[in-house]
Amino acid sequence: MNPDLTSILGNFYVLTLIKLALVAFVLLTALAYLQWIERKVIAHIQLRVGPTRVGPHGLLQPLADTIKLLTKEDLVPAHVNKFFYVLAPMMAVFFALSAIAVIPFGPKINIFGIETYMQLSDLNIGLLYLLALSGMGVYGIALAGWSSNNKYSLIGGLRSSAQMISYELPLALAIASPLLLAGSLSLREIAESQAGFMLGFIPRWSIFQMPAPQILAFVLFMIAGFAETNRVPFDLPEAENELVAGFHTEYSSMKFASFFMAEYANMVTLCSVATLLFLGGWYPLVPAPVDGFIPPLLLWAGGAMLIFHGLQPARKWDKYTMPAFGAVFLLAGFAFLIPFLQPVLVPLFWFVSKVGILLFLFIWVRATLPRFRYDQLMRFAWAFMFPVSVVHLFATALLVALLK
């Protein structure tokens, strides 16, 4: 490769810009398709089929939604506080997307002679940065509720800010316990501290790691995470039957979409953090030689299944689309066998699949659990989550101090 090009690409700013573009594109697309996946999954859980009209299996539905939201009339009610009304969705989406900057997706890689981390920025205080952003995220929602000048919105905003402040405590305390095991605040170092296996086959992820397995912290973190992202069963701020649509009642078109984007971005961030803190980040579930073969095998199995379904079409287009996707899957499986792509793709596969499983959990919970009452929600935060996480933190600290 041309050494000039290498040096230009190796420049810090240029490299960061390239990574930024890549991550932004992938993330935004992923957010859009997350919406599609959610609708599909919920539909199937509820014995429906979900979107099917736009594209095969509704695959182009996110694109259609985006176009619709962008071109819809941007309605600003007369009674709102205009400045904050406009500012609020911007803040929400800004802080939500900023969070992705410190998330590492994989280990150090070497592409075309350039060594870099699969991460936009490795901060010493990555976790604190995330906590700060999650704290700032409250403003978007609170301001949206307040500036709408509507009692439903206001109550939604108040509820959301109270809820987020309350659940930030157990969230932070749940984060603190794996930190004690890792001894760092940098997300990359935390993930790297979980490399390897115990007894040869148990991964040294935080939830398994001796001396203090963090299963309880993981559960606490996920519960608090549900509340932080205002997801069911903690979606009081937007409880339709009480508050219309809560803080975004008065919003329409792209501003409305911004809140959804923020919500899904927060979900992705949260699941990534959970993966990095508790589930070993990009480290595989199984030891060395096997881990590289699992992704192609899985993909080939998926591709084979799709082709099989294509041969017995249930609908008109299935006999074309299904084998096409099957072929893509088979090819993707082969990509994992190319030597110089393998060190990039295998960790990425493990990371993405863990995040995906957690995201599925979010959707699954939304489809199955009812909503809390507001006082139950707050009591749950202060009377259960908080003490339990404090005690857990103490126990972890004690175990680490005594046994490590």
Binding site: F84, N124, I125, L131, A142, L158, I165, E168
Partner: protein
Amino acid sequence: MDAILFFLFAAIAVVSAINVVVQRHPISSALSLVGVMGSLAVLYLLLGAEFIAAAQMIVYAGAIMVLFVFVIMLLNTGAEQSSRKGKVLTIVAMPLLVIFLGVVSYIIQRGFPDSPLVKFGEFTGGGPKDVGMALFTRYLLPFEVTSVLILIAIIGAVVLARKEME
């Protein structure tokens, strides 16, 4: 680069601070104050205070100011009305503040004629580890005392804010 960042965020801080003072509506002031705090956090980073920058955002901007916004929203008092007394005070106090600023700047210039140039990365002793070490060794007693202070504050806030028992 350091200078650009400093001037940029110093400007944001000063403009936001002015906004805090001149805005009629408390919520505007509060948001401006958050702006001040955010830009100060960036300046802290420039000065090598990583942990304090994060704490500034988490504690100040993320918790204390949210509490302010929360209370403002709860009371919803609306924009404040100006009063004649306030105008008199402004006329009297404004020159005082200007003098104050002038003298302080003079003293700073005189007192630190050869103050060091601030370069990012020159001082790296402000990470969580350094702060934690100092906090739990040399400053252990103040740290414990602040925990008592916070306990007292919690009790005070609860007592003040609870509904009157009949």
